[in-house]
């Protein structure tokens, strides 16, 4: 089976959010970008692919790391899982606002692949700007069946089985390849640690970063941005003091009053 992943990473929240470019032609803002790390959903998607490979050593995993620009540290972190192919894909910032533009760009990349694609995996949210649009949009562009918010993937008799929870229901969806799934976080797909020898190999690896220039024109553009700093509680927090027993007494009385209100 041949699996493709698209990974964006997210800005490390230990750093302040970056300055966003209102003018796409402006230079310099990219240099101020904070370091990126894998998002929880990137990690889950990667672990799902690794588990499929654990079960079938013939499985090939290719990862495209997407960024404006692509950060080398992210490429190396991903390569340390001994994948078959890791490459960068540079996009321009306006594309990150527009699922249509990004999905078309990814569609072009996949159309150039010479091997049959059996599964495309993406975290349920793609990077810092997406809130779950890109995976289903890309599935439509690629005309692939889409299964969202998947927690586990297995291959059985040449077909994919996707597992997910929806409220109090557990779903098991069997789909013939090829398919596209968005992966959400779950204890079953917590990313493993890479082996030290593979980390060392990734440090020496060279990567191809594709920069094909502007994709299809983004239909969404940035007007303004502001860092959120305002605390939601303007009146201050009423702290309950005293011993544990005194705190429990006061808190239980407060909670009961709210239950009965």
């Amino acid at each position: 089976m041949n699996i493709i992943l698209f990974i964006s990473g997210i800005a490390d929240s230990k750093w302040p959010p970056p300055t966003l470019q209102l003018d796409p032609q402006a230079a310099g803002a990219a240099a101020a970008a904070p370091p990126k790390k894998l998002s929880p959903f990137d990690e889950s998607a990667l672990e799902c692919a690794l588990k499929i490979r654990d079960a079938d050593a013939q499985t090939r995993i290719s990862v495209f790391v997407v960024g404006a620009p692509v950060q080398e540290s992210l490429l190396r972190a991903i390569a340390s899982f001994r994948l078959d192919h890791v490459a960068g894909l540079t996009v321009v910032e306006p594309e990150l606002w527009d699922a249509r533009s990004l999905a078309r760009r990814f569609g072009d990349v996949l159309a150039r692949q010479t091997e049959t694609i059996d599964l495309v995996l993406i975290g349920r949210e793609f990077g810092d700007f997406d809130d779950g649009l890109l995976p289903p949009y890309l599935a439509e562009v690629l005309r692939l069946p889409f299964v969202g918010l998947v927690q586990e993937v297995r291959c059985d008799a040449g077909e994919w089985i996707f597992f997910r929870e929806r409220g109090d229901i557990e779903e098991r969806i069997r789909v013939r390849p090829a398919a596209l799934a968005s992966i959400t976080n779950d204890k079953r797909n917590r990313l493993r640690f890479p082996l030290m020898k593979n980390i060392a190999a990734a440090k020496k690896a060279a990567f191809v970063v594709e920069n094909t220039g502007p994709g299809s024109e983004a239909r969404v553009r940035l007007l303004s941005s502001s860092v959120r700093t305002v605390s939601r509680q303007q009146d201050g927090c009423r702290m309950l003091a005293g011993s544990i027993e005194a705190q429990a007494e006061e808190l239980s009385a407060f909670l009961l009053s709210r239950v009965k209100a």
Partner: protein, 341 residues
């Protein structure tokens, strides 16, 4: 649904996914946006057999017209491929530039996983623009201005588009008079159109469904939510949280790290990447209060924070706080609540 005069925003209400209060708040939120855009609201209420009360709620929340669409073969919970097939029959005709009076046409879904998927896939199929989860949408010359959060709720942005049709998801608001819908009110025949469909619906692959081993109270619509974070240290901590939730008649939620660790199911994750919740009271235990988590809690919710770190960010957002080790406080608290029951 033919348009006359002002452009119409189309609001898709999935009656089998939302309870009446949520649905009413969703239409009310859409109506508030429609006013700023200078549009009216057309509600499409879809379900296996959506009751007429959903149509009454929609009209009272501001919808000008309602299409009540029933199909007995729809799966519950929703199967998006089925819904796409229904919506593809309706929306392309309703969202043409001519129908929109030359304005950018807009279709809204409720902000949840099903709504987000439908909005994105319809945008792709209709070569439209997917706007995602928006906190507000306004009209601007020749297009729309949308407001949303990025960087895990750490930054707010305003975006512009003039390329329709547009598809977005929005959250419900607490509708004015939300508890007082008059079920006995009569709806005019002009306001509501019934569509009873029975054509074959598509499906992808083979789906099998089983009840989850643990039945849990839903976060959606809960008055009180008890929620835990990484500081709960393990599943045993969440068992105590469940006891507290039971004592309060509350639903149980968790942060992303708690879900990652398997202490809470992903369907109960609260935050930017999980559920957006609007309970009256949110009891946050051993939660640090990251922007990503706080972005999932409604602004009108009162937060009670329990954390052993007096410098934890959660206290900045809380109305009531207790600096204490939950391992000491929760047993004492649960004991008192049980005694009072």
């Amino acid at each position: 649904m033919e348009s006359k005069g002002m452009p119409a925003i189309h609001v898709v209400v999935l009656a089998d996914e939302l309870d009446r209060l949520e649905a009413r708040g969703f239409v009310a939120a859409a109506t508030a946006m429609a006013v700023s855009i200078g549009a009216t609201v057309d509600a499409l209420i879809i379900g296996v057999a959506p009751g007429e009360m959903y149509a009454k709620d929609a009209v009272q929340a501001g919808a000008g017209r309602v299409a009540l669409i029933s199909h007995p073969a729809l799966m519950v919970p929703a199967h998006t491929d089925q819904l796409l097939a229904l919506l593809e029959d309706v929306l392309p005709q309703a969202m043409t530039p001519a129908q929109s009076g030359g304005h950018v046409s807009l279709c809204l879904f409720h902000a949840d996983a099903v709504g987000e998927e439908l909005a994105a896939r319809l945008a792709a199929r209709m070569d439209g623009t997917a706007l995602g989860r928006c906190s507000n949408i306004e009209g601007r010359a020749g297009g729309l201005r949308v407001h949303k959060s990025v960087f895990g709720g750490r930054m707010d942005v305003a975006l512009a588009t003039d390329a329709g049709p547009c598809f977005a998801v929005i959250r419900s608001i607490k509708a004015a008079g939300a508890d007082a819908t008059d079920d006995s009110a009569r709806l005019s025949d002009e306001a509501v159109t019934h569509f009873n469909l029975d054509d074959t619906l598509p499906a992808i692959g083979h789906i099998s469904r089983n009840p989850s081993q643990q039945q849990r109270k839903r976060l959606e619509g809960a008055r009180i939510i008890v929620s835990g974070g990484r500081g709960m240290e393990g599943p045993d901590g969440f068992l105590q949280l469940q006891q507290l939730a039971d004592a309060l008649g509350a639903a149980l939620g968790g942060s992303l790290p708690a879900v990652d660790a398997g202490w809470a199911p992903v369907s109960h994750q609260v935050g930017q990447s999980g559920k957006y919740v609007t309970p009256e009271l949110y009891v946050a235990v051993a939660l640090s209060g990251t922007p990503q988590h706080m972005a999932g809690i409604g602004p009108d919710t009162d937060i009670v924070a329990i954390n052993s770190d007096e410098g934890a960010e959660i206290f900045k957002g809380a109305k009531t706080g207790v600096v204490a080790d939950w391992k000491e406080l929760l047993p004492a608290l649960i004991r008192r609540l049980d005694q009072a029951a």
